[in-house]
């Protein structure tokens, strides 16, 4: 069985700076992979190369065995890759329900059938289930912009899952979220992973969050992988400690 995501010898340079240097790893079905590293280690650049926001200078990215070089974000989404953003990215003037329906509608029928079909693309029931799953049921008809920051983070995650993606890339999901909401978010992500076999790649600075959520962790420093393994192994790896604390 193909890995859900396969990153093969990916490099990315900006002029003379090599932000990502010959990075390779696989992500398998139902795995939660954490991608960590100090600031400037190349995590976000790698993320953007995988998601088609930046063209890689070298190497290939395969999703479910298919090369996704040059694919636009909307094409990647149709191939089953969902994502969240570091900064909040919801549609503030649209209701929570409309946000969620939008996240699924482009996977239903053709462009023409969406024009002449049902206004909700037949997704209301599924969207309500997703909203309930992320415990936003009492906010269904509220404008997304009126939700608290943490609730918008939950909505952001719910949107990434709505189309039933094979792989979800989460960019700092814990950033700016208070402790109660953070526990909620972690618990929901774990439940999604266990109940539906969803596969995640998580970039995160919050070590406690990453260590307790992820099944495997890759550590980047200066654009290269310096350590890889389960949370316990990575936590005790002297190279990792040195990369974070300097030396």
């Amino acid at each position: 069985m193909n890995p859900v995501l396969s990153v093969r010898n990916v490099s990315k340079s900006f002029g003379g700076l090599r932000a990502v240097d010959d990075v390779s790893f696989d992500v398998h079905q139902a795995e939660i992979l954490g991608l960590i590293g100090p600031n400037g280690s190349g995590k976000s650049t790698l993320f953007n190369c995988v998601l088609g926001q930046l063209p890689a200078s070298a190497g290939t990215v395969l999703v479910d065995g298919k090369d996704v070089a040059g694919k636009r974000p909307c094409d990647l989404n149709k191939l089953g890759v969902g994502r969240t953003f570091q900064m909040l990215q919801v549609f503030p003037e649209m209701t929570v329900l409309d946000n969620i329906i939008l996240a699924g509608q482009e996977h239903k029928g053709t462009m023409l059938s969406r024009l002449f079909g049902k206004p909700d693309a037949g997704l209301t029931e599924e969207a309500l289930r997703m909203i309930d799953f992320f415990r936003l049921g009492h906010q269904t008809h509220e404008k997304a912009g009126s939700l608290s920051y943490g609730q918008q983070k939950l909505l952001d995650a719910a949107m990434a899952f709505m189309a039933g993606p094979k792989l979800v890339m989460l960019d700092e999901p814990a950033g700016g979220v208070n402790l109660t909401m953070l526990a909620d978010l972690k618990e929901r992500l774990r439940a999604f992973n266990q109940e539906r076999g969803a596969t995640f790649v998580v970039i995160e600075h919050n070590m406690e969050f990453v260590m307790s959520l992820c099944t495997r962790i890759i550590v980047l420093a200066n654009g290269r992988i310096i350590a890889e393994g389960d949370p316990e192994t990575v936590r005790n790896d002297p190279t990792v400690i040195e990369a974070y604390l300097g030396g």
Binding site: C74, N77, H107, E142
Partner: protein, 323 residues
Amino acid sequence: MSTRTSFSLVAGLAILILLPFTQSNYGVFVLSSWMVYSIAAMGLNLTLGYAGQVSLAQASFMGIGAYTTALMTMAGIPWPLAMLAAMVLCFVIGLLLGYPALRVQHHFLAFVTLAFNALVVLVLRNEEWLTGGTYGVVGIPRPEILGLPTQKPLAFYFFVLALFMLTAAALYGIIRSPWGRAFRALRENPIRANSLGVDIRKTTLLAFAIGSACGGLAGGLVAQLTQFIDPNSFGLTISLKVLLMVIVGGAGFFFGPILGALLIVLAPEFLRFTEGYYLMLYAALVIVLMVFCPSGLLGLVERARTALKLRQNPNATTWEAGR
């Protein structure tokens, strides 16, 4: 659709059917003019209000639609074909004009569309062999429907009313459909929309094309309404006027451009008694409205209604209060 909305729509339609019988020929002309401009403004509302793409070129599409309809009907081509051709042509040119919007946004896009409007006016003025240049086109026939002429103001009013209703229904269908949701997503957060599978390129181009096709239809009706067109009828001033209709009524509200067009077309009539001061008064009113309610008149109504409901029921959500 709620019973209250259905009732309001039926009442509104009844008023539109009965109102012209109480008016002079000039009054019927003004009402027809309002509906024609409403069609253009509804199209721009889709492009600007829903999809968030700034366009200062709606008058140029009205011009292309007007000249296409006028020249084709005067050449003996049946009016339905001529008007359809006008809309299709504007749809295609709108698609092309949408391409710059894939690269530039906001005021840069406004300048691109503004330049396009200027270009269309220059073509209409300079290509005399086709457009009659500054002399324009005179004697444009009004349509004949199943053998019934619409030469008289009242008959033509009902022809315009029918097309106005059809356009409104079509646009309402589009806005309520997943396309409408994608347009709003494009306006609010194109990067996120793209990551959720919305094809930003197609959505942007469609927003321009559909809005432009409405401009083409409105232009065809302007030609038949006034029976005379010249390049100045479709200059930048008219584009700004249509933009004002959308903004004053409430961009992104379905009935916003219809209300805005009503105000912009009727205000000069009501302010006529002020003689030389009317333009100044009109400008001052627009400034006051924009300062105190940038979301337009319908935005003002929505704000007031929500505030009132929240005062009555402080525990209501803003959605419940807004209903």
